[in-house]
């Protein structure tokens, strides 16, 4: 039977999810809820989950305290969590209005709200690895796996039962039947079989706000794809006139001043796929963000060639997000649209500001690839 509190608790979670869903556009536009890498949840500020009442505001003009101190001394930590005997149901107490939501839950909300279809992974045979875990005991096995504690206990039990145990001379001699060995179970683990390759233009025309938008977009793309693939990998490529493979932190912090050759990034991406991610086994997602200002027409046609001949045939999806910047001409997206009007694998999206992040994400992910 599900206990009552579990029901109320899940009702509470439901309400929170409803609130998050209602305000998803707002949350998606802000960068501060993005989780630190490796933490499985995000903290979402939640206004007014408490029940409103006619209560006093805060102009009561101060309170009363106890202890040492001269007038003017700061009183520290108004809300120090002490060890206390809380008695229930007395007073509401100030609750942090921050709610933790796991990334899985967030992805679910995102999927429901944007109406995203589940992704059909490419390639039927998902790679699997096996992992052994020690879970129990058995009566045979190599000496190196002998469990001393279990063996000792059985021997002790047997000796007591046989009456050969002398508390004054507690010598325990295990016989073969007493011995216990640790045994393991082999769990199949689906191997990580998806990778996102992020590419970003870091040339001088991409400002901080543009990068922030890219950071937020990549967070939501990550969140969604991670809920679809176990153990998703990410790679980051930055480029100006040349491209480099970098760490995540570097990706979002770098600022160069050079010109822009987008083809350099596409080349590197292609090489990366060749070297590490065989499309036979991997679901490859590539996203490129730029302000749409490419160096030359020649380079743009080089990009189109690269996309048509090598990249698009090998990826599940290629997303191009164009962030509006005051310096960029924004020509590249028009060129791409012109060249690949009918190709479903290439999705372009213009992001004019933070407000449009949600629409852009929907555009990228709604095809379920």
């Amino acid at each position: 039977m599900i206990s009552r509190i579990e029901q109320d608790h899940s009702r509470f979670r439901e309400i929170i999810r409803g609130k998050v869903r209602q305000n998803l556009r707002k949350y998606m536009a802000r960068g501060d809820i993005i989780a630190p890498q490796g933490k499985g949840s995000v903290t979402i500020p939640m206004p007014q989950i408490n029940i409103p009442r006619f209560t006093f505001g805060d102009n009561s003009g101060g309170g009363v305290g106890q202890g040492e101190g001269q007038p003017g001394d700061p009183v520290d930590g108004a809300q120090q969590p002490g060890q206390g005997k809380g008695k229930a149901g007395e007073g509401e107490g100030d609750k942090a209005l921050e709610i933790e939501v796991s990334l899985d839950e967030l992805a679910e909300i995102l999927g429901e709200e944007l109406g995203l279809p589940r992704i059909q992974p490419k390639g039927v045979h998902a790679l699997e690895t096996r992992k052994d875990r020690y879970v129990g005991l058995r009566s045979t096995g190599p000496e190196s796996l002998r469990s001393f504690k279990a063996t000792y206990k059985r021997a002790l039990r047997r000796q007591i039962a046989m009456g050969t145990y002398d508390p004054r001379r507690p010598v325990i001699v295990p016989i073969r039947e007493d011995r216990r060995y640790r045994s393991w179970r082999t769990d199949p683990r689906p191997h990580s079989n998806a990778v996102i390759i992020y590419m970003m233009d870091v040339s001088g025309s991409m400002g901080d706000e543009q990068k922030e938008i890219v950071r937020i977009e990549s967070f939501w793309i990550d969140t969604w794809l991670r809920s679809q693939y176990k153990g998703l990998q990410s790679r980051y490529i930055i480029h100006d006139a040349t491209a480099r493979l970098v760490e995540r932190e570097v990706f979002f912090r770098t600022r160069e001043s050079g010109g822009t050759m987008i083809s350099s990034a596409y080349k590197l991406c292609n090489e990366l796929i060749d070297a590490e991610f065989d499309p036979e086994h991997w679901n490859v997602y590539a996203f490129h963000f730029s302000d749409g200002d490419n160096w030359s027409v020649d380079d743009t046609s080089a990009c189109v060639r690269l996309l048509r001949d090598v990249l698009l045939p090998r990826v599940n999806l290629f997303g191009y997000g164009q962030v509006e910047s005051p310096y960029g001409s924004g020509q590249f997206i028009k060129d791409l649209r012109g060249a690949f009007a009918k190709n479903e694998l290439l999705i372009t999206s213009e992001i004019k500001g933070r407000e449009e992040i949600m629409d852009s994400i929907r555009e990228f992910l709604r095809r379920g690839r």
Partner: protein, 501 residues
Amino acid sequence: MAALTPELRDLQSEIFGYAVEFGLDCFTTNFEMVDYRQMCEIASYGGFPVRYPHWRFGMEYDHMLKSHTYGLSKIYELVINTDPCYAYLLEGNSLVDQKLVMAHVFGHCDFFKNNAFFAHTDRRMIDGMANNAARVRRYMERHGVSAVESFIDVCLSLDNLIDPWAAQRGASRARPISEEPPEIEAGRLPTSRGYLEGFINPPELLAAEKERRRAEEEAQRRKLPRSPERDVLGFLVQHAPLESWEADVLGIIREEAYYFLPQMQTKIMNEGWASYWHSKIMTTRALRDAEVIDYADAASGVMATAPGRLNPYKLGIELFRDIEERWDRGLFGKDWAENESAAARASWDQRLGLGKQKLFEVRSIYNDVTFLDEFFTADFCERQRFFTTRENRRSGRVEVEGREFAKIKQRMLGQLTNFGQPFIFVLDANYQNRGELLLGHRHEGTDLRLDYARETLRGLERIWRRPAALLTVLDERPKRIRFDGAEISVSDEPAAQKLWS
């Protein structure tokens, strides 16, 4: 949930023996052992595992479980005011902790049974709560979970609008309506000369005046409520146009609010009393040599004061100890008050030995407000190092303001008055002759929290099904906040000032 181990059962009867020896008078107390999840569950239901379903219990639970998991707080014990009394012990606590908790629980239990403010509470509330829950569940099945739940939300947002003196007032409220109002006399001007009578008090004018007064009186009589009504919830149950299930739910919320009210009115006393007795029982009877350090550790955790924060356990126990000492040594009365020699006061001892008797008297007839009002003395205040705090607007930090006794006491009493809630009355159920509901806030120096007040008015409109308004004072200006079903408006309203003068 499990019964106690034989070892703990023996401890229970041992400690109960000490409690009886000291004169505590408890209901039969049933202890049960729970793990920390169950403890958090029961605690989030306010001590009753059988409450109606509502998401806020889930929120409490979420919060408690997290702060327990992160080690921020720990619920040692939980005891509820019923007969027999139920108390919960946390599994895995050390034996000395369990002893302390038992002694503490007997203190609470004695307080529940003997304090006047608990006298009218329903001691079979477990059954009451279970019945309420069953009815709410039935309504949810019939009308849908979210409909009932959102209505409960509305009711809860009003559950502090109750009359703390309702129980004491009960009898006088029920006075019968007098049958015929006495004949109204028009104001006749005095005259000593009979022949002027017809000019000074012309009959037609007198008749008109009489008619006017009668109409006024009549309007007053028809007015609802006759005088400002503190029990807003009760008023709504009676007069709001509610579906029968809605009226029942509102009644349930009201009933439970009144049940928990005395605990809010006596928090300092209740915790102080229980702490006084756990300390007494443990240090003079139950404690074994090997347990002293563990006991001291636990007790000091409970009594810890952080600067800028009042600990009701600490304040309560110190006050009770002070009372005991004062009535033992005779530090009260006219002689004591008039003697100003420090030496005489320090060595004052009339060997009255009335301390214990006084303690039991205080626990029976006081609540937090009267308790502090009478026993929070300047001496005590100074000894316990109290101070007032104030927010420094420039730095945004809270600072020590000063150590002026009058101010400290005034603040404390202010925080406790009306169990820490604003005074809100129903003023008029037919406001502006349009069937609107008018409430009034008696402003005593502190403004209401505006965003909450707006939301609460929405709830009132939902219940009253007509616009609802509240007269209050914001930033020293009389205001009216009104919700007409579509939007909230805040306007100047001079009448709000005159109300209470």
